[in-house]
């Protein structure tokens, strides 16, 4: 069986993307520069967070978020809210 990458799998997920508002953020992006583990970049099951070496910051691709809540517990600097009502992930099966 072919190994599936996260990108392949996210195609299978239904979303209602909120183009105006990101429900994810980082309260103090300066901290990221010295954050050793940068765990947000690997614990997220949707690869929402990536480290931008050039800009020295974390990029947040919030529209892929599965709203699992992991990053909220994994890093205190991540500000996590629910997407606005009706937006975000919408599972077909669950």
């Amino acid at each position: 069986m072919k190994k599936l990458r996260i990108e392949d799998k996210l195609y299978l997920v239904g979303y209602n993307v909120d183009h105006e508002y990101s429900h994810l953020g980082i309260s103090d992006p300066e901290v990221c520069k010295t954050c050793e583990k940068k765990q947000c970049t690997y614990v997220c099951p949707a690869s929402v967070y990536t480290w931008d070496e050039k800009e020295q910051k974390i990029n947040i691709n919030y529209d892929a978020c599965l709203e699992c809540g992991t990053c909220r517990f994994a890093c205190d600097y991540i500000t996590w809210k629910y997407p606005r009502g009706g937006f975000g992930v919408a599972y077909k099966f669950g």
Binding site: M1, K3, L4, R5, I6, K9, L10, L12, V13, N16, K37, Q39, Y42, V43, P45, A46, L66, E67, C68, G69, T70, R72, F73, A74, W80, Y82, P83, R84, G85, G86, G88, V89, A90, Y91, K92, F93, G94
Partner: protein, 433 residues
Amino acid sequence: MRKKDFDVIVVGAGPAGLAAAYVLAKAGVDVIIIERGKFPGAKNVMGGIFYRKPMDDLIPEFYKEAPVERHIIEQRMWFMDDVSHFSMGIRTQKHNSEPYNCFSVLRAQFDKWFSKKVVEAGALLINETVVTEPIVEDGKVVGVRTDRPQGDLYADCVIAADGVQSFLAKSLGLRKKITPDKVALGVKEIISLSEEQVNDRFGVKDVNEGVTIEITGPFLKGMEGMAWIYTNKSSVSIGIGVIIDDLIKHNMNPNDLLESLKSHPSVLPLIEGGETMEYLAHVIPEGGYKSIPKMYTDGFMVAGDAAMLVDSVHREGSNLAVESGKLAARTYLEAKEAGDFSEKTLSRYQDKLEETFVLQDLKYYRNLPELLEEKRYLLTEYPQFLIDAMVEIYTVDGTPKPEKFRKIKDELKNRFGYVGLAKDLYTIWRKLR
């Protein structure tokens, strides 16, 4: 007179909130249930095995009309390393006749169905609406604020069934900070197969009979977690849940872990050739009894995952959610009778939960999270020993049996020491007492 739009506001249309709203609506209470998803279930993920009993008390024989997948007649437990697994399990015809023990379900479909029953019973359901905070006046919860324009709503009582994130209980200061060692991330795929493939691969007679497999052991490389494979009608749900702190420490990406599970030689033949239909993720509160917040205050009760009511040993959560939602609703009915929604009256909710399996089960396992935190090796080294011993016993290679048994005994001594073994057994016994 205080403002009042409804008797009760229920936040969250998962099993806890739906059960609460159902009981209230049936009793003629004016109840609104608010859900942030497009529909109830759109945001919800579980393994998912749904236990019958608490739900059957609410809607007798619900499984005849609810979208359940298969009733479970066999439950297996695997201890797995990279190349072997040791299997135990129970298959019984006692679970193969009505009213059945438990069912595999897909939550987006199940919750949607349940919400229809709740609306039929007379509750008002509002979707696509986030409750942002409780409204507190004179130290009492009197309503909620939502993200809709003019979205403030007032009621005698608010039942927070808003799941593991539980912003409401948090903003009222009812619960402690949840640390990453007390929550697991579960990732899951639904993989389509034909009905016949599921029947053949899991050894069941027809599309109604189902099997569950729970998997733990050294393949998790010392992380605390559990994988599962559950049969649906024409698909399987396969997933893995691991404590978030362990993922962080092991630099582990959850999808990589799921992919390595899927390609394991014991697992692959069960899913080979199937197409992934959906990929899902959700956290599971696993702190157990000691992480339970205060579950009530003036005009406010907390139910289900929001109150951390998950028994991770037996992968039970949805049934605790239904039971707690039901009891919160019954507590409200008593409070209404008395015309008093104070903390004192609502504390009856806690008493009720203590009389049931919900708090009794969780209390029994109260020391387990700590035990496993201190002694992670219990999850790898003993299962590894078991696997190795079984391989030894079943390998016929000319070694006389007495020598084999001696070898196994020596291994036991080498790996754990008799003192270590006795200590571990004693600790487990003491912690579960």
